[in-house]
Amino acid sequence: MQIKPILSALRRHKAGTFLIAMQIALTLAIVCNALFIIQQRLTHLSEPTGIDEPNIFIIQNEWVGKGTAEQVDAKMREDLAVLRALPGVQDVTPSNSYPLRGGGWDDSVKLKPDQLQDTTGSTIYFGDDHFIDTLGLQLIAGRNFRPEEITAMDVRDRLGPPVVIVTKALADKLFPDGDAVGKTIYLVGGPTTIVGVVKLLQAQSVDRWASAFAYRSVIVPRRLAISLGGWYIVRARPGQLDAAMRAAPKALFEHNPRRVINDEDGLLSFREVRSRAYERDRGMAILMGVICVVLLAITAAGIVGLTSFWVGQRRKQIGVRRALGATRQDILHYFMTENFLISCGGVLVGALLAIAINLWLVTRFEMHRLSLFYLLTGVVILLLLGQGAVLAPAMRASRVPPVEATRSV
């Protein structure tokens, strides 16, 4: 196929060529960046929490009436016994929060008592000796809490447990040389000793403000006994989640009706927790996806429209070429190549534009650099789109009969 005649023909259609090329360029620039945003959001929302998600559900229990910390703690321990006795329940732990809850008690961790700047932030999880088993965490160093280490704590007490378990991410941050077990760290209420390290446990919030201390969590051996209430994290036996979720609140109310378990979010399976935590990210990813599809559709429609016009305009010339011996294939190839050349110009400009837009997004919206993969994906998509869009008008052109050449030239 000769390219030169195509180029000289395009020179006579500067405006149309320029418009299609620009439309392809802009579409490429936006589609690559949108794909990149989608990928980032999807990566974010598929980050693991480190817990046995399919079998876990959360009960938010609010007490009716007031009570001292001792009374509340007694009621909590009764509840734990009731839940652990249920057939579908594997284990239960009381807590002040759970991963992906959206916020809660985050605190600073220091290596020295007189340090002015914190070493890092961290999520504070309260739990008893069943915490690790309930969440299905993997203990990779040290030991679990002993039952005698678990005590009740009022919200007004200082947070100063003698021992804690930390996540590997936190241990690595505090002690990059390894071997965190046995070391002393300083929480807000004083010194404490690390007795165990778990492999992975996500923070309470995965929003951007908490990204600085993602996966850095501290587990303290305390039951938070406050009269408002708290959470029970329950792990059902495999395959019995639904049954356990029905049985658990019923058993709790039978044991002690003076409580409120909110209809709206008092009882949540972890699947719901996850979908709530990432709702915004998913929304953004869907929006970007819709925008990509609509943009590509509009661009394709534009190419079809303009190429059809060109075919209509050049019927006589096509007829002449056919009369002089060009085959249908030749005509088809002519229009396909023409579109390919325009698309190439478009994607060249578009690639530069995409990088420029991405650099601007990096400064304005704290995004990451566009990886070359998305640029190339975008380029391939648009080249294929161009060829696909031009196919129908080009087929029509190839069916122009040679006799057209004889009509009213």
Binding site: L19, Q23, R156, R280
Partner: protein
Amino acid sequence: MFGYYLDLAFRSLARNRVLTSLMVLAIAVGIGASMTTLTVTHLLSGDPLPGRSQHIYYPQVDAIPKNTDDKEPVDKLDYQSAVDMWRAHRADRQALVVESQLKLSDPASGTPPVMSMMLSTTADFFPMFDVPFQYGGGWSAQEDESRARVAVITDDLNQKLFAGANSVGRTLRLRNTDVRIVGVLKPWRPSPQFYTVAGGRFSNGDTADFYGKPQDVITPFFTGLEINDGSFWQFTCWSLPERMGHLQNAPCVWLSLWVQIDSPAKVADYRRFVADYAAQQKAMGRFTHAGNTRMRSLMEWLDFNGVVPADVRLQTWLSFAFLAICLFNTVGLLLAKFLRRSGEIGVRRALGASRAAVFAQCMVESGVIGLVGGLFGLLLTLLGLWLIRQQPVAYADLARLDVPMFLLTFLASLVVSLLAGVLPAYRACRVAPAWQLKTL
């Protein structure tokens, strides 16, 4: 002539339905996307107190010992600084503001208590922020000091508890204290909830929560601190408070002070007052530094906090790029359409139509496409706003089309289509009549 061109435009548009609907669709989608995001941005970035905001200021002193003069002061005030500056009454109006969570119930009905947000503030809050009342009113400065057990409730809560009736004089139980309702607000939805905005610079653009609904119940400041003692959240502390949730004289910042100052001369005075106060506290040894006091106006403060969420800004930019692509698309299609009619245009020109007349005819046709596109674009905008109302964001209920945005939709689509029409119309009116007639 205009009527004739309109007639021609409709005939021409009806002749090639696919191309016409493609152009209308492109404009409609572009307008729909950009007007949806523009409406949201407009609602979120507007002035929450039009006409008054330039008189409202947010004074800041920095109580945090480890901060220095070259840093921004911390976003909120400690108890002593806030109450000292409030008591000085140097501004025309001043209000302390803090919010907290508590259980609220209607003791008469005996329904279980619900977790609610309480705003505790001082008497000037209502006149200063022009808060509209349905029944009753605020409380007096006297009642601030006497820690009166009174409360103002929102229309939302009044609907929920009292079915919208005049509930002034009735009793509400806040945690364990009974308060008397003295006022019921009209529906009031400032956007953003400006009086609690703080800390936006730490949120990395996740600022949608600044657009929440106002707190259910509003009590006098000192009354609120007593009723809900032990449940106040610090913005931050520089060392551990004696008792969690009880922050009076604790090493914590947690309060906002808003002042209204009506004349520019007094603004300078008040700035000096704030600086002097910090210097005096430094001299007394309570502050470590006094050089970074600030006093931003309301809009400056919102701007400093970057209240419009990053996602919303990103979507707005994106939708305008989208509109640009739709524009290019329409230009291309119009070009094809007009030049295909070269023969017809040649005849008109040969019969005496001027270039201007041909240009005008083409522009009328573009305008018609724009208006029809705008109509569909309006429907798409309504659909887009409906979709945003289904989103789990605090500002979802705000996303509605107002009259200026409604008119802007049509204006924008008309402008876009005329813009799209200029180049094709120009090319069309340059058609050489003789050459066209020869090839007919």
